[in-house]
């Protein structure tokens, strides 16, 4: 039994099951919802299987077609891939249960196939060791994400989706040019081989500049965040949850992976790290202030994503002296943000559905009639603010610890300011819970599945705070952050 589990091709399931499930949803729209839920459930189980596998056997490498790099494409799974897959699985489960209640018939048949293709693209992206294959997964993910963002139609959603499409296509093209230069400079597109062959040269610098620029645009790092708020703010809530929780993290994951393995050791002069850190700090402050200024709930949450992305980039300057600690903190934050932000968008979706609007100033009537949504929002907010004992708290605490140890007080101050601003914008919403409000005139019932999926994701984001030791030990399987220190 144990051998079967250890040898089972979990990686193949993770990539192929959602793609085939999507096809079934497309062919038989009558069972799309059921097929979709089953597919997501078994995909999530496969993450568990893969986790067991690499916990016992160490990192997983698979040569597709049996050719092996550089001729073929290699799949690769270590702790970092596992963390991203796990975040994807959790969010996918929550959002899928929510969507089963949210999308009505016509939208449902369109949503499920595209969403399963998006899930397949995300899993494939986290599992490949080939930078051209990454380009193909990026495009599959991007086009699926745009299709979902424009699903509801209407002026705002279409404008948001269009802006998103232009940004994501430009980002992919710029990334592809970087890939072209790397291939012609070093004769391979395999990450491991590139890491061995690459040396500091104009090619490396240009490729890094292009790849970083393309991925920063896709990750919506300030000041390239302009496309995010309209797209995430006007998409259907479950789609906003997917975009904010997973899709922007996917491009960050690629940037981090390539930085750790290829570019970091070569261009690791402090200027680049400092620049990333500065942009991250600017993102935190700008995003938080903008979030505070919003009058619409979903736009506020979208700007909060811009701010939270910034924290991930603070790890770059910190990592020059303490790689493992800084990156572990950043990835912990990414994981908790994925859960919390998904929960927050879903809770906002419940309020929007119940009250028919998401004007923050008029939410009092809604919040008090939807205690589960309010609770989900509050718990998710704890993690976003970084209050103990949530996952967001652990991530921020780990990062603060590194910053204090290194005497980087400017980073400490930005992080604290960001936390205070987050508290301000979250309490702006939650404050309504405690004020008196007349009952709403008209309201639409919210199915229990939608209430509970939001709440459970929020609870997971809080519970993540108690799992620091196991999560960090899983994350460091295969030593993803130590590479630059082990092999100079």
């Amino acid at each position: 039994m144990e051998v079967v589990f250890k040898e089972f091709p979990w990686v193949a399931v993770l990539i192929l099951l959602p793609l085939l499930g999507g096809i079934v949803c497309f062919l038989f729209s009558g069972i799309a919802k059921f097929t979709g839920l089953m597919t997501v459930f078994f995909t999530a189980l496969s993450v568990l299987g893969l986790g067991w596998q690499i916990f016992d056997n160490g990192v997983y490498r698979h040569a597709v077609g049996g050719w092996g790099a550089p001729l073929g494409i290699d799949l690769y799974a270590d702790g970092l891939s596992l963390l991203m897959l796990a975040a994807t699985a959790f969010v996918a489960l929550g959002v899928s249960v929510y969507s089963a209640g949210y999308f009505e018939r016509g939208y449902s048949t369109r949503f499920w196939p595209i969403w399963l293709f998006l899930l397949g693209a995300l899993n494939a992206l986290f599992l490949t060791a080939d930078i051209f294959n990454l380009y193909v997964t990026l495009e599959l993910m991007g086009l699926a994400a745009v299709a979902l963002a424009g699903l509801a139609g209407g002026k705002n959603a279409l404008t948001g989706a269009m802006r998103y499409l232009l940004a994501t296509l430009l980002g992919s093209l710029v990334y592809l040019l970087g890939v072209a230069l790397l291939y012609h400079g070093f004769g391979t597109v395999d990450i491991t081989l590139l890491a061995q062959r690459a040396e500091a040269s104009p090619v490396i610098w240009a490729a890094f500049g292009l790849i970083a620029a393309g991925l920063m645009l896709k990750t919506a790092l300030f000041p390239l965040h302009f496309w995010l708020p309209p797209a995430h703010g006007s998409a259907p809530p479950p789609v906003s949850a997917l975009l904010s929780a997973l899709v922007v993290k996917a491009s960050f994951y690629i940037l981090l992976r390539l930085w750790l393995e290829i570019f970091g050791p070569l261009v690791s002069n402090t200027d680049v790290s400092t620049l990333f850190g500065l942009l991250g700090a600017a993102a935190i402050l700008w995003g938080s202030v903008q979030a505070l200024r919003q009058t619409r709930l979903k736009l506020m949450i979208a700007y909060s994503t811009v701010a939270q992305i910034g924290y991930l980039f603070l790890a770059f300057p910190l990592a020059t002296a303490a790689g493992v600690a800084a990156w572990s903190a950043a990835m912990y934050l990414a994981f908790s943000h994925a859960l919390a932000k998904a929960a927050m968008f879903l809770a906002a979706g419940n309020m929007l559905r119940f009250g028919g609007h998401d004007r923050i100033s008029d939410l009092d009537r809604v919040v008090q009639r939807l205690p589960l949504a309010a609770a989900a929002f509050a718990l998710a907010g704890m993690s976003i603010m970084g209050l103990p004992p949530s996952g967001g708290f652990i991530g921020k605490w780990l990062m603060l610890e590194v910053a204090i140890k290194q005497g980087r007080w400017e980073i400490v101050i930005v992080m604290i300011l960001g936390g205070l601003l987050a508290a301000a914008y979250i309490f702006k919403v939650l404050g309504h819970t405690f004020t008196q409000a007349p009952s709403p005139h008209e309201s639409k019932a919210v199915p229990a599945s939608m209430e509970w999926s939001a709440l459970l994701l929020a609870i997971a984001a809080v519970l993540l705070g108690f799992l620091a030791i196991p999560v960090l030990s899983l994350l460091n399987i295969g030593n993803p952050f130590g590479i630059s220190e082990v092999t100079p």
Binding site: V136, G150, L158, L166, L181, H184, Q290
Partner: protein, 99 residues
């Protein structure tokens, strides 16, 4: 063949300029396509450096993949543009929703 690669750089830059500079979405879509062609040209031109008569065919396969991705993206973008125009009367992104 370096000359072809240089023209590729030129096409990429010209496309990027037009993408940033013009408001009309159809022109932005054209600009993205021209940028893509520029990248493909760089990929294929530099694949001739094998020192033999046969070029390196791996970039050829990559470019065919890229061309198919480009037409998929173009189709999606054009439909989105038309839906947006039907909604607003203009094939442009309005400034109001930007902040």
């Amino acid at each position: 063949m370096y000359f072809y690669a240089l023209i590729g750089v030129g096409l990429f830059s010209v496309g990027l300029y037009a993408l940033i500079n013009y408001a009309h979405l159809l022109r932005k879509i054209l600009a993205l396509n021209v940028m893509g062609s520029g990248i493909f040209l760089i990929l294929i031109a530099l694949a001739k450096r094998t020192g033999e008569t046969q070029p390196d065919v791996v970039p050829h396969a990559m470019v065919i993949t890229g061309i198919v991705v480009a037409v998929s993206a173009t189709a999606l973008a054009l439909t989105l543009m038309l839906k947006l125009a039907a909604e607003t009367g203009r094939a442009e992104l309005s400034e109001k929703d930007r902040d």
